[in-house]
Symmetry: D2
Amino acid sequence: MAAELDGNIELVAGAFSQDAGKSKAAAQTYGIDEARAYANYEEMIAAETKRADGIDFVAIVTPNHLHLPIARAAMEAGLHVMSDKPATANFQEALDLKNIVERTNRLYALTFTYTGYPLVREAREICRRGELGAIRKVMVEYLQGWLTQPLEKMGQKQAEWRSDPAKSGIGGCIGDIGVHAFNLLEYVTGQPVKKLSATLRTMVAGRALDDDCSAMLVFENGAPGILAASQIAVGERNGLRLRVYGEKGSLEWYQEDPNRLQLKWLDRPDQTLHAGSAFLSEAARHATRLPLGHPEGFVEAFANIYRDFSHAIFERQERPDASLSGSVCGIEEGVRSMAFMERAIGSSKADGAWTALEY
Amino acid sequence: MAAELDGNIELVAGAFSQDAGKSKAAAQTYGIDEARAYANYEEMIAAETKRADGIDFVAIVTPNHLHLPIARAAMEAGLHVMSDKPATANFQEALDLKNIVERTNRLYALTFTYTGYPLVREAREICRRGELGAIRKVMVEYLQGWLTQPLEKMGQKQAEWRSDPAKSGIGGCIGDIGVHAFNLLEYVTGQPVKKLSATLRTMVAGRALDDDCSAMLVFENGAPGILAASQIAVGERNGLRLRVYGEKGSLEWYQEDPNRLQLKWLDRPDQTLHAGSAFLSEAARHATRLPLGHPEGFVEAFANIYRDFSHAIFERQERPDASLSGSVCGIEEGVRSMAFMERAIGSSKADGAWTALEY
Amino acid sequence: MAAELDGNIELVAGAFSQDAGKSKAAAQTYGIDEARAYANYEEMIAAETKRADGIDFVAIVTPNHLHLPIARAAMEAGLHVMSDKPATANFQEALDLKNIVERTNRLYALTFTYTGYPLVREAREICRRGELGAIRKVMVEYLQGWLTQPLEKMGQKQAEWRSDPAKSGIGGCIGDIGVHAFNLLEYVTGQPVKKLSATLRTMVAGRALDDDCSAMLVFENGAPGILAASQIAVGERNGLRLRVYGEKGSLEWYQEDPNRLQLKWLDRPDQTLHAGSAFLSEAARHATRLPLGHPEGFVEAFANIYRDFSHAIFERQERPDASLSGSVCGIEEGVRSMAFMERAIGSSKADGAWTALEY
Amino acid sequence: MAAELDGNIELVAGAFSQDAGKSKAAAQTYGIDEARAYANYEEMIAAETKRADGIDFVAIVTPNHLHLPIARAAMEAGLHVMSDKPATANFQEALDLKNIVERTNRLYALTFTYTGYPLVREAREICRRGELGAIRKVMVEYLQGWLTQPLEKMGQKQAEWRSDPAKSGIGGCIGDIGVHAFNLLEYVTGQPVKKLSATLRTMVAGRALDDDCSAMLVFENGAPGILAASQIAVGERNGLRLRVYGEKGSLEWYQEDPNRLQLKWLDRPDQTLHAGSAFLSEAARHATRLPLGHPEGFVEAFANIYRDFSHAIFERQERPDASLSGSVCGIEEGVRSMAFMERAIGSSKADGAWTALEY
């Protein structure tokens, strides 16, 4: 839905299921030629790269353990890749993937979806222009309640693979949403995290992975930060909230009210920005389709990432060195987020020992 | 974007401009066969109805004065119609259109977009189930600020035709947004307006049509209501807000925060409903694509109307008497909203005299 | 509580009940000398004006029908008066009272409590300084739900006298809260209402007075307005909300979130002001006791009116012509609000006929 | 203001300044007999305890280093004590004070003001009644921006003593507001913190004490928590926010919107409670003075603590073993909050080492 929203991209082939019959059935519901519905990614890549009208890129929307093998196969076959986050199942894989991306010179983007919202991009511009002054404190939280109960034992598919280390990798909540929170704070502030002290917990008895995380952070410039992620915060929906405090001003953005950005200042009135305002930055305006006051949401944010990605693919047709817009997260953010996850898990195992993010 | 979101509908032809060259250029940006880009609707209808793979329906997205002629031509040629509101340029035309719809037995839907939001549909179910008790008071407001300045004299296209009686019809603000407010309150409450007393004003000097409206209403059951619509409410964006008070409870919905519905009760805590909750009505769940907390917006609401419409078209292929889902507004709502507009203008000219809506 | 909050005023005498015993009992709970607890206001005024340490002013907190007789008796005896609104039981009484105030040269203030909030005073300053430009539209609403049921027949004292014409006067909802809404809009905008068209309803069967009011307004400068007041808006608490739209900007204030004032502008970001900010007007700062972020509420707003009133009494000790601060509503606002009430009732009886406010 | 609000308490004596002249001048503005304005607390206690109409209790509102000596002197002279928090300048002093309280059997209360809000008390009742199920996660934050600049070097008195270790003790932000946050979470949840890992920072160059704190917590029942306190969060006012997540439901309360309490549940609609509702717990209703929708604020919350304290003093006149209402924080909470502060500072110095709160 997001990929096709702007008319630049068309879904024409896929490996929709490991069961060939189911894959073909899915193709039909998508209005795709059955011949291009494959039973696995190897088959798909092999067949599509032989067609004159073959696919330009692969979108990886599988459980995490398949992210690396599919991305590798696709890029080695000359295809670009748009992958779900996290980039890979663990940090070492992310480094491997980085090598592959560099070696194959393919476009590689990660759907850190929240970076597609216009006001997240406005927030980033505000930080870049130095309007807040030096960053002094960052608070990010990502609170969900959907794993309050042991859904993975109650037949819920999304919960099953996400809490299964074999499919999800070493991180539960930290890998599913913690990395979004981490990515968002670095994306907006432009300020890298230097080290962290984390506590991961499994609050629902019998669950194999963490479902609640807290971390204290220190940024490269010495500023402190706090990251909280939880999937047992009963009643919370998809509560990703970022607050950034600088020397001169601060900003706050909340994913469930995504078309508003709140700014506060030293000694002048608070301000609220709205998506669609003519006076926003080009980065924000470029990410909005509708007039002021006409809400855009998650699909549109997602579509912004696909749109930027498609533009890079079009440019590649002109210039082989065309690269992704800086607004789109790629392998660099993928590696950092995997480092974050692995170091957070390590820190938590070491009783919250401060752990550097460098690698 | 909205039409194609769910994959049921594909844009394959159009009269995109009165200039044949521009129409073809537009086709290209939409990825449409140039041969199916026409210079006017007559040509399009003639050509498309001859094709085996011709269009199933026409979407009318022109200024108001063309709504009737296009709808008539399309339906008489056997095509279904999805039209922008208002249905026609005046009330008499709406009655004519009703006859045409009935005579041709074509599907006719109006994009009263706000009725596509899941929580508007939830609100309607709540009223239908009688949870609020008998309705006692309704307040609806639709506040915008974009015509605070005389944009129509500053080269803004949308403002130009909307404030030009030749293209917009007899209503300015009342026709552009007042009818949305009116439609929403009848849609949700299921309670028809019986009579009204209105005041329309033109607050920006030199503007040809009203830009601010107030109306007192009385419903069939005797309950009073207030409708306010303004396009000179500086700083407002697209502020459509509905509040319904019954004997036992009340509800409030606001278009700029569309995924939340507030309920208040006699002697028990206020409640807030969120789009995507498992315990909402089927009507609301059917209108949601994403999990709880993932905002859907205007495009998705619009798409819900197209999706319902496409289902009726599919059903027509099985049963010639298949009709539109009751969730979608059609010619009946079109006639009522034109009656509302014409009676409000009449009442205002008669110094706010109470005017019945019946016809 | 409000009168004594700032230490300028002390409650030392009263007619707390028509029953002398009850009056004395009440005095005890207030820590007042029993000798100064009277069985009626005549007795109180007679006795207190004979004492060297007698009272300086009378606070009238009775049902409406007693407002005029007590005020008259007090002022004719040389005492100042702080009265609950409405000033009197009807408009003619208000004119009489105005004569008495002028003749006796006593200080007379009305507890239009909401005018005591710091951000209401800020809003007024913003209008005065012309920051919004010429006013184009005003919307005021005062919504309560406490009379959703026929409480007056269920033994609730406050509901009993308020819905009894003999004690409350000719207005129900319009007199109890409609006049607050009216007063607030004139107080903040400084723009007098010229004429109105009103609809008053009694929605609860058997109730003697109106419990729901709507009015369309026209201001002296031609701008339209809407006033809504209801006591059967189930679930609403004490929802007084004012929105003022000018040519350049707009403001919104809501009584249940009184320490915030929202400003919106043509082509620049929305702003939010908070009570206690150093950069607010003197009028607002003068009405705040605590640092930023420490909520003040209804009692403090009330106390601001008492404090201003006490300052005028102190000044009278120096200068016999000292008058009330312009921030405090007096007999002029009292007469206007009674005119509003009477004209609204008249208009409603005449089926909403436009009725001038002049007198 | 708060002490006198309900009429149970009267300010009759004080040591208002170390300068006898200034103390007498202050007395005059308070309307107090000059003879009872003393130059220091020793003098005051000596004189007042000799009077038949001497004071019943002392309210300590000095910088922190004087809390213990004054409390000791007062209690040893037979007076009760209401003290500003923190109880003392360090943990050892708090233990000493606890002995004094126990030995003298005087009433000792701490103005943890936020525990006086009606909806904080409602939140506590909800936790007590087990409505949320076992607590799984607690997040508390107290964010202010007033020390964003080095005010202590710009002549601001409040900033001066608070950032001076000689007057404030060993804690800056942690002692000024961190302890409020800590106290609030234990007060509401009834769940004691077992251990913590803290990071304290001084973000404004040259400041002598911490101005920003983060802590990860573990409760006795194993649940994790996060505490954030900052005085350099530019643009924040007095942002104390508590969120408690249990197995079945969660609650959120925010000090700047104190009359609202939000509840969220597993599989049913969110709820909002409002101060003044008839269906709240007795604890909340007892702490409210005004009808629904009439905001009460900081002064009223403060007054609730004084009122409860005064009731205990009255009861002592009947029964020498009468004790403080459980709603009021006393020496136990004082000791715990000092332990929290000292352990947090210790943990921070030990690079965030987990530190037990037990003593």
